[in-house]
């Protein structure tokens, strides 16, 4: 009787939806399991050196094989940080402009444009990046910077091909701006009008008032930044077309490099003929997996805490 009662509580609604929810959770767990189990051989063989060295000795003789994906990790972080440096000022300005200054019509156009940018197939960014952005940046940014600022150590090498951390970072920046600005814009638009009035009633100029209001949404901006970073670090095809794909740990933004996702995209295809490479690539994937997980959770946490706090 008791079991029957329990079953009755579990009504038809749950009967329909639980399996789907369960499936999604299982899928996610399965994914994690696949990455962990497949990367174990790499850890057993090389330990943490997989993540902390920069070597890529692919050899058909298994004893000589040795891999360290430091270059890819470095490249992922470096390009994502450049991307944020590009995306943040753009997103913040855009949010302020759309919320405070744009006429209604223009506002609609700007919002739609931003949404199209968010949904645009990444490969289109990729082809544009490879054929337009890279040569453009080389000609108009890298060469002038080298010509005039080469006394700064990180710019001391002559930019050679244009395919570089910098190009990838700028392209990524353009790609993540709509995501970052969606978060910032939403937060900025929800500032109660009374704070706006308060700021202006104190005799502040638009610059000063905006500065105060931007301070008010700072946590939301941090959250947007974190989420944007997550997007940037996971992007694959567009980056692999412009980053240069070279194992290079260098602070020189104009030198070519690798990213984790690009490493997987370009090396997974020929990894099976080597004995140990596949596992290393899964270890790289696991790194990306965990970083993505942590970053998203962090971003969500910051945003939620802020939403709770400001609703005083």
């Amino acid at each position: 009787m008791r079991t029957l009662k329990k079953f009755a509580k579990f009504d038809r609604f749950d009967f329909l939806t639980y399996p789907a929810v369960l499936f999604v959770f299982l899928l996610f767990t399965w994914m994690l399991v696949v990455y962990v189990t497949n990367s174990i051989p790499a850890f057993q063989r090389e330990g943490w050196n997989v993540y902390f060295t920069n070597v890529w000795n692919a050899s058909e003789c298994p004893d000589k094989e040795y891999y360290g994906i430091l270059a890819a990790i470095w490249g992922s972080l470096y390009t994502s940080i450049i991307a944020l440096l590009v995306a943040l000022p753009l997103s913040i300005s855009y949010s302020i402009f759309v919320v405070d200054y744009a006429p209604k019509r223009l506002r609609g156009i700007l919002e739609i444009t931003s949404d199209i940018m968010a949904g645009l197939p990444t490969i289109i960014y990729g082809i544009w990046g490879a054929f337009f952005l890279v040569p453009f940046l080389k000609e108009w940014v890298m060469m002038p910077v080298y010509d005039y600022l080469s006394f700064i150590p990180i710019f001391s090498q002559k930019p050679v091909s244009g395919f570089s951390f910098f190009s990838a970072g700028v392209l990524l920046g353009i790609m993540i701006t709509p995501f970052v600005s969606a978060v910032v814009r939403e937060a900025y638009a929800t500032i109660p009008h009374t704070y706006r009035e308060a700021a202006y009633s104190l005799g502040l100029t638009r610059y000063e008032a905006t500065k105060i209001l931007v301070g008010y949404v700072k946590p939301a901006m941090i959250s947007g930044t974190i989420l944007g970073f997550g997007r940037a670090i996971g992007e694959t095809v567009a980056v692999s077309l412009v980053v240069g794909n070279a194992f290079n740990v260098s602070a020189d933004p104009f030198s070519p490099g690798y990213t984790i996702s690009s490493l997987i995209a370009t090396q997974y295809g020929n990894s099976f003929i080597y004995t140990h490479m596949t596992s290393v690539l899964y270890a790289a994937g696991l790194f990306l997996f965990l970083v993505g997980l942590v970053i998203t959770l962090l971003g969500m946490y910051v945003l939620r805490r802020w939403k709770k706090n400001v609703s005083i």
Binding site: V21, E111, T177, L227, V237, G292
Partner: protein, 277 residues
Amino acid sequence: MYQFDMRRIKEYSFLGVICILSFLMIFPLFHIIFTVFADGIGTLVSTGPVFITGTLDEGGIGPAILGTIILAFFASLIGIPIAFAVGVYAYEYPHSVIGKATTALLEITQEFPTILVGLFVTQILVLPMGTYSAIAGAFALAIILMPYVAVYTKEAMSQIPFTFREAAFSIGVPKVKTVFLIIAPIAKRGILTGLLISVAKVAGETAPLLFTAGGLYQTYPDSLTQPVGAIPLLIYTLVQSPSPADHAMAWGASLVLLLIFLAAFIPLRLSIKEVRL
């Protein structure tokens, strides 16, 4: 009267910077559209309708277009029902532990690097099957599609006023019918629009197809268990080729992809207040 000159200068330069940066933010999109049109239209015009229907040898990307349609269709078939159920669940139980965990999971998977999904599907489907296949590609896309659809479903249903639920419950309609047959139909406009936007977004993905779909450009696909091509995948391959002819082809394919995307996306976007991508 103008005693705060420095403040004024700061204010106006601030306004100028805001305007310029906002313009800079959207400028790339217009430049991209312009470049794709300028570089792609020549290929399209000189090849003519064969570009849409022909195989790669005939100078067309027909199999890729069909492949993208097949992938999107089957990804929807796999993903949407599951995602719909998950979205409804998250809507119904926003405060229970599993409900909260579901919402969090949806947000996490929305941000998840797509290449990892591709690699996962390769491991669980492609290697055991021993062949690239349309079904593997569609499954990879479905995994990416699901969180978007679920979130849209949830959001659209949350917009429906609570009174409808109360009204339904008060006349003794059971929960399952209330949610599926009353609330969901009321919210269907939002749900469907969100769903189509998600499909449009996912159909343009490349990374999850890299090691799953395989690519098929000389013939039209005729089986779900055989490799299939896709426009983004084809562009990715062609861009990496050295030959200018391939590049022209890539631009043409990009134009087709862009047109399909814009044609699907803009009307949908206009009929909905905000999107979450």
